[in-house]
Subunit: 130 residues, 2 copies
Amino acid sequence: MNTNAAPDTPEHSTRFRVQIKHAVAIGPGKADVLQGIAATGSLAETGRQLGMSYQRIWSLVDAMNKDFVEPLVIKQRGGAAGGGARLTPTGEQVLALYRAIEEDARIAAARRLPELVALIRAGAGESGSN
Amino acid sequence: MNTNAAPDTPEHSTRFRVQIKHAVAIGPGKADVLQGIAATGSLAETGRQLGMSYQRIWSLVDAMNKDFVEPLVIKQRGGAAGGGARLTPTGEQVLALYRAIEEDARIAAARRLPELVALIRAGAGESGSN
């Protein structure tokens, strides 16, 4: 799954996450979930786009709703589409802030990144280890 | 396991990783392995300090040795300590560059981070979800 929101080049990208103690209040995966809900208005469709189960999406949304001072996502049961979801104003604010911080970090990292990337072999990383 | 190299405060930290296509040539875990080898001169001791098996450490080292233009780590068999390991000059360069880029990103992210952190509930994230 490619969840890189801020690619530097087609092949190199940086990722950034905010950690709270040992858990992650918001990181690339959760930001993508918020963005998917904002774009589709649907947890199920967000799951399809991100290759995650509905259960997984809901578990991330539920954690975010509990970890922030106000819920980030409101679930809307019923209706023609069989129930949708949308971001609250706080959800929109968290997503925008996360992307802005990510971009700040990406721009700062880009300054010395070429020097590191120049030391990586062409075709490296294809084994998928982390 | 706490592998945060650049804490902002005791409770909040940012992490940063460089990705090559879908794999990770170097990220927080591999940087910690390099740093452990530089500090201890031993793969086994690095594994103990990071809570990873020797096999896991070696697999990360082996991947890095293949993914960069020159090996980052040289294994030294035999000797009094039953074999050690050390960083090559390229290994030292990669570790230093990685930490410098991480610090650049951390400083840039810190500017707007308080605004995001202010939206997180006290005690959030204790469930360990990601």
